[in-house]
Symmetry: C2
Subunit: 293 residues, 2 copies
């Protein structure tokens, strides 16, 4: 197993355990049905926990411990999960399958899926706000809210919706990627670095390259894999006439772009020069490239 794959596996177990404890200690425990069940189903349906893993990795790389970055890691996963629940809605991407399971609106209806997503976003900030270190909580709220909002993740999804069925160029695809996936990936590294008391800005060049690489390989996966392999509906980007790297540049050029971003990430890591968890970080670009091969 590669260094990053091992990190992902070992932190996933920690994240899943911490998530269970955090949910039990949160206000979700006193929420009316079916919200606790719906949120648990969305959160605990076997996500890969990539964003928590990146957050925890940046924290350890800056000399911090997993415990320090865990609230932010869980908050990032809550925001990511809410975005999946809302993206899957009939009025958005209209998807019935996610992580190999029926999507939330299929199980609970559309209204409850909207509300479960809304509650997940609130839960993310509840988890950050529950931290004893007020400076850390405030800074992470700032990082996460900006990344999740109209100029970040939500803005990317809005552009994605607007792009469907229209002729879009490279610039539009890059803007969508930077917001829709990139913003939360950047926030993952930034929140982790901040948890260790480091300057989140230090991580920006590396995080930006990883974000672009992540979305590039996501586009490649959607274009080349089956639904069974992905655990979600495959080929839906092309079906929906979405602006993707593959649609704009073709399969081979998209692969070349992914390779280039992996190189950019490696250079950025050399500048960042973390003394801890270097192997896991250095393996990350290759790990992401491998996904789409």
């Amino acid at each position: 197993m590669s260094e990053f794959a091992a990190w992902l596996e070992s932190t996933r177990a920690r994240v899943d355990g911490a998530l269970e404890s955090a949910l039990a200690a949160s206000t979700l425990a006193s929420a009316p049905p079916p919200l606790p069940e719906a949120l648990r189903r969305a959160l605990l349906a076997g996500g890969k926990r990539v964003r928590p893993a990146l957050c925890l990795l940046a924290c350890e790389a800056e000399g911090g411990s997993l415990v320090q970055a865990m609230p932010a890691a869980l908050a990032l996963e809550c925001v990511h999960t809410y975005s999946l629940v809302h993206d899957d809605l009939p009025c958005m991407d209209d998807d019935a399958l996610r992580r190999g399971q029926p999507t939330l609106h299929v199980v609970y209806g559309e209204a409850m899926a909207v509300l479960a997503g809304d509650a997940l976003q609130a839960l993310a900030f509840e988890l950050l706000g529950a931290q004893a270190d007020a400076g850390l909580a405030r800074d992470q709220v700032r990082l996460l809210a900006r990344a999740a909002g109209a100029a970040g993740m939500v803005g990317g999804q809005a552009q994605d919706m607007e792009s469907q069925g229209r002729a879009c160029g490279d610039e539009t695809v890059r803007s969508i990627h930077e917001r829709k996936t990139g913003a939360l990936i950047r926030a993952s590294f930034a929140c982790g670095a901040r948890a260790a008391g480091a300057d989140p800005e230090r991580w920006r060049p590396f995080a930006e390259a990883i974000g672009r690489l992540f979305q590039a390989t996501d586009d490649l996966l959607d274009a080349t894999r089956s639904s069974a392999e992905l655990g979600k509906t495959a080929g839906k980007d092309a079906g929906a006439g979405k602006a993707t790297l593959v649609a704009v540049h073709g399969l081979e050029a998209a692969r070349a772009l992914a390779r280039r971003e992996a190189e950019v990430a490696r250079s950025a890591l050399a500048t960042l020069a973390p003394r801890v968890r270097y192997d896991e970080l250095a393996d990350l670009p290759r790990f992401l490239e491998e996904r789409a091969r």
Copy 2:
């Protein structure tokens, strides 16, 4: 003009001005179209700004200034506005009219209305996280996230949806009210008191009574006024078979319950005994009762 009406009017102008400045300084300024326009339309469509007014009132009553509580006042309005945008969706209350204007999904489509609501919630936490006082920011994030989430506002809307067309008793109606309206009203007073450095818990008994009174008069208004008078669709609670005080107890008993909550609020205020802005607070129960007369 009554004391509270005067407070509402004078703070509304301040809130609207501060909202314009905050939007310009927020990440919304760099969001892709149509989000900035959609969020501005939702936020600036002539809301009464009741929650900001309550937040600012509690802050001054505890010896603080308007400036100290303004970020929280704006954040509360963002959360309230997002809840209206999502509640009006076709899959929820399916309402085409709000504050006398076409609702957001009528103008921008359903997907963009979901996203605009999502962005408004993120914006609320962005505004809180932008504060210089980290302890204040963290505490208000905690108060707002809990009030807005699955056990609070979103939970109330979920119960409200689940109650439709079912025989519900007094207990269900009270639980819906406590969450759907009460939680954010309580958070308004709590965030304002915290902004002045006071203990938010001090305000709970008064805030709870005001929350119940507020929702009671809302039920009465829905049952007795025309759409033109309300600026939103009237009679929709009964039409949707919703659990309301009027549906459970009838019009006269619901009026009596409102009167009783006004009395509870007055007693709680006597215990609270604020030295500043007493007249405005003392007038609030009567002001709310008058709305539904």
